[in-house]
């Protein structure tokens, strides 16, 4: 049976295991999906050096490929050009804010994702994952994660 699926769309739907509202497309990790004579090559760019989710993302891409019946595949990592938060989509920014994480706008423009007040205070520059810092809102008092601009 031949199933016609847009493989790129399927792979683009793989989510970040630590921020499951974001797909790897939103994050800007997914570079290319190439199909050559039935062999699928997915190329991704790692985010922060210290991101432990990258291996999980690789495994999830492989799972997605296998679910589509792809038998011959590889996941390649490319380091150049290096990933930057500028590669995150607008949609990614909106999803992050809805999820309660301030998107990577640069420190002077961070808004509290809960009440949208500006001028939050930095609590800890190193947060629960490599990509986040911990801040607290000066208005509603809620602590929240900020996705570091990088």
């Amino acid at each position: 049976m031949t199933v016609l699926v847009d493989l790129r769309l399927v792979i683009a739907g793989v989510v970040d295991p630590e921020i499951p509202v974001l797909t790897i497309e939103d994050l800007g990790i997914l570079r290319t999906v190439e199909i050559d004579d039935g062999h699928v090559v997915v190329t991704i760019t790692p985010t922060y050096s210290g991101c432990p989710a990258m291996r999980q993302i690789e495994d999830d891409i492989i799972l997605a490929l296998e679910r589509e019946g792809v038998e011959s595949y590889e996941v390649r990592i490319t380091h150049n050009p290096p990933w930057s938060t500028d590669w995150m989509s607008e949609e990614g920014h909106r999803k992050l804010a809805r999820f309660g994480i301030a998107p990577p706008t640069g420190l002077s423009e961070v808004l509290c994702p809960r009440c949208e007040t500006d001028r939050p205070r930095m609590v800890a520059r190193f947060g629960s994952t490599a990509c986040k810092a911990l801040m607290v809102c000066s208005s509603c008092g809620e602590p929240f994660d900020y996705f570091k601009q990088f």
Partner: protein, 248 residues
């Protein structure tokens, strides 16, 4: 293979015989691997929760850099060596890291001073390597440069706080400088002046001084280490050596 003989080193010790380009990649990977392992020792022992998380996060960045560089070194070498082969299956003599990064954590001040010396160095290093002709290395360096700058903000702010803090924090910070200084001459050989300027800038504000004692140790880049590296590797590598080829 020709055996390299380094003056002052006992005859018969195996020499490092990697080609220069590979040698450079492995050296930088080893710095990051060994420092990641050291910083990891702080997890659940740091002075407070935020610092625990900070040191753990910095360790992860160093580990990530090491992994990327080991993998790249393996590809260039073309003999099928993986990142695990480099990290887990080499002996102490084959590690080419700087002596600084293998030094014990000591107290928090010692860890911070070691980190500050290393971050100051790595900022210069990555800026330099980001201009190299190796496309993968350029990518890894460009990303690591941003991380090194972030780490440097952390370590230099703590050098300031400790050096210019209480009498006790100053005493400990100065003791850390006195202990770590002897491992700095091999650190920034190609940009020694810039490195020194970066250190002096923060130290003058922190009220810390460079020791008068000119004694310096080196040899890490040739694989001649202080007594501490063997113990670190024994802990890091024991599982892979006890259960060869294990996976999870």
């Amino acid at each position: 293979m020709t055996e390299q003989v380094v003056a002052g080193v006992p005859q018969g010790m195996p020499a490092v015989t990697l080609e220069p380009r590979l040698c450079e990649l492995v050296s930088h990977a080893d710095d990051n691997m060994v420092l990641a392992q050291r910083l990891g020792e702080w997890i659940s022992h740091a002075p407070d929760l935020e610092l625990d998380i900070a040191l753990g996060n910095i360790a992860l960045d160093h580990l990530g850099v090491a992994r990327a560089l080991y993998s790249h070194a393996g590809e260039i070498e073309g003999e099928g060596r993986t990142e695990d082969d480099f990290a887990m299956r080499r002996t102490e003599r084959e590690f080419l890291n700087l002596l600084l990064v293998e030094q014990p954590n000591g107290d928090f001040a010692q860890t911070i001073v070691r980190q500050f010396f290393f971050d100051t160095y790595q900022r210069l290093l990555w800026a330099d390597l980001a201009k190299s002709g190796d496309e993968t290395l350029v990518g890894v360096a460009a990303r690591a440069a941003k991380e090194a700058a972030y780490h440097h903000e952390f370590s230099s702010s703590w050098v300031l706080r400790l050096g210019d803090g209480t009498k006790e924090s100053h005493r400990r910070a100065q003791r850390a400088v006195d202990t770590m200084w002897r491992f700095t001459s091999e650190l920034a050989r190609s940009f020694a002046d810039e490195w020194r300027r970066g250190v002096d800038e923060v130290f003058s504000e922190a009220g810390l001084s460079i020791p008068d004692d000119p004694y310096q140790r080196s040899g890490g880049r040739e694989g001649y280490h202080t007594e501490h590296l063997g113990f670190l590797l024994a802990e890091m590598q024991w599982m892979d050596r006890a259960y060869p080829g294990m996976e999870w």
